[in-house]
Subunit: 322 residues, 2 copies
């Protein structure tokens, strides 16, 4: 099986590559080659099969044609202009998130080889007048251009699959926490940094109240779910190839309690509570009453507890972790 990860340089792309290197197979079929493609040259990984790295700009059909070839069996399409960036720069978001997805699908159609294409969508498709509870059958009324572009990608995945051009599936990712790396300017940045920085012995600021609720998944289970998503039988998924990936709702207080349970009382003392009305205004508009009925029925999983999310960070990502 010849696998391509577009967005292979990102946090999820790299973790997915490592997981594939460990398992060596997808759905019982041995992996023969893995290509990591990204807009800047991604890092390679060690694996028991051939690993290639390359640059690919999905906004450019010629670049896509070089990256996706007749022997590509499975494409993880993770590349995206993220929420805040796509909101600031409308053209960049359209170019990558909407037309980039279209370019990938058109290349698959032109090849006529019906590869599997797995797109990461987002809970950002929910919003506006969509009524709680939210899930697989909710009308997408996104309140960001990123969410709109992902919702368009979902429709394309469904129709290209229906027409027989690809074997598509799309998963709406919960907010990923604990996310490794550095804080960024996304409004959601604190949902990882209030845990990650204290676990690394550094201070962090919590800009919202302790009872703020949100819908989370660990990076480790996200990757497991993506692989499981590629192993599902299309006929079991049915006519809607889009589904919510399972997550769980927790309050900020529950996140911190889980950290204390796993790592002792020290880290929580490094959190400085500093309410920031601008961030609160944005994130309290986000939706959390989300249910992943179809994915759960098909065997995808949420974390059992947020203690697990903390342990995964310590095992997989804390600087110095093996």
């Amino acid at each position: 099986m010849n696998i391509l990860i577009i967005g292979g340089g990102g946090v999820i792309g790299q973790k997915l590559a490592l997981a594939l290197a460990r398992t060596g197979q997808v759905d019982g079929k041995p992996i023969t080659k893995l290509t990591l493609a990204d807009v800047v040259m991604p890092g390679g990984i060690d694996a028991p099969f051939e690993v290639q790295t390359q640059t690919c700009d999905i906004a450019d059909p010629a670049s896509v044609a070089k990256t996706i070839t007749a022997d590509t069996d499975l494409i993880f399409l993770l590349a995206a202009i993220v929420s805040a960036h796509a909101e600031e720069d409308f053209d960049a978001g359209m170019k990558i998130n909407l037309f980039g997805t279209y370019n990938v699908l058109e290349r698959c159609r032109a090849l006529g080889t019906t590869p599997m294409v797995l797109l990461t969508s987002s809970i950002a498709v929910y919003g506006g007048e969509a009524k709680d509870p939210l899930g697989d059958h909710t009308y997408p009324n996104p309140q960001t251009s990123y969410g709109m572009q992902k919702a368009v990608g979902e429709l394309l995945i469904n129709d290209y699959t229906r027409k027989g051009y690809i074997d598509g599936r799309a998963f709406r990712l919960p907010t990923i926490s604990v996310r490794p790396g550095r804080p960024n300017r996304a409004a959601s940045s604190f949902m990882s940094s209030i845990l990650r920085e204290p676990l690394n012995g550094q201070e962090a600021i919590c800009p919202v109240a302790g009872d703020f609720l949100h819908y989370y998944l660990s990076p480790r289970l996200c990757v497991e779910n993506l692989i499981k998503g590629a192993e599902l039988n299309g006929s079991d998924i049915g006519m809607n190839r889009v589904m919510q990936m399972p997550g769980k709702v927790w309050s900020i207080n529950q996140l911190i309690t889980a950290m204390t349970t796993v790592a002792g009382p020290g880290p929580a003392k490094l959190i400085r509570w500093d309410p920031q009305p601008e961030i609160e205004r944005i994130v309290t508009g986000w939706r959390w009453d989300i249910h992943a009925e179809k994915a759960k029925r098909l065997g995808l999983k949420a974390d059992r507890s947020f203690e697990d999310n903390i342990r995964y960070y310590l095992e997989d990502d804390r600087p110095g972790a093996s």
Copy 2:
């Protein structure tokens, strides 16, 4: 008010133009100019204001730029590659229905004049795993590429409106009956022809059973709803600028009974019942349990009875009608 109808040569475009000529205003603002644009030169109409006709290919941004100008206040975007055609020719449907809509919206964004854009969507967005009853908040799971392209148009209308680039609204049209003109190769063609041809003294074939249910609206009320749709306050519509246009569910038997009530027993005798399994297979997959909650609340209307639909055809469209 300077109004542009893209798709101005079609059945609904021409009827809309005539209705605007009669009222001379939209939302109390006098119409100063009406442009009818279509891919082939549309016919003009008599009106108490300036009427211009022109060709426009919405697949071509340069053509769109010539048609939409800084003084365009209101755009009715009716042009589309219809269902069966878009299913046969995927590229043509994408080019007009998806990228054509995008080109129109991008032109509005580039002008920076925030015109109103009213898109006709379709009940074709419903299907697949969407559960009855269907309506404003149903996840679009279309089973035609036409439906997918319309669902993408809805998402674009919402996001361009949210960003302040346009004042957008989109209406999912029911099946229009009695539709004037000639039968075509669409699977739905009989839903008008079993009435239109007999009312014109000609034979027609009914390929389905009399208890077949579907969701209908007359052309006259469709046009009234489109004008009303342009008169709604954006703030009354809310964050989801997409809504189902009201229609009503009737059986084939009810359509024919209504024809007999209005036009006497003669026309019904011209219907030949000839079950066609291929057409039955397609149309019995179509959805009819459709509800237009938001539009009804905002004052849009369905026909009171199918007798009205028959009368409208006789008054407005029967060859020789004034």
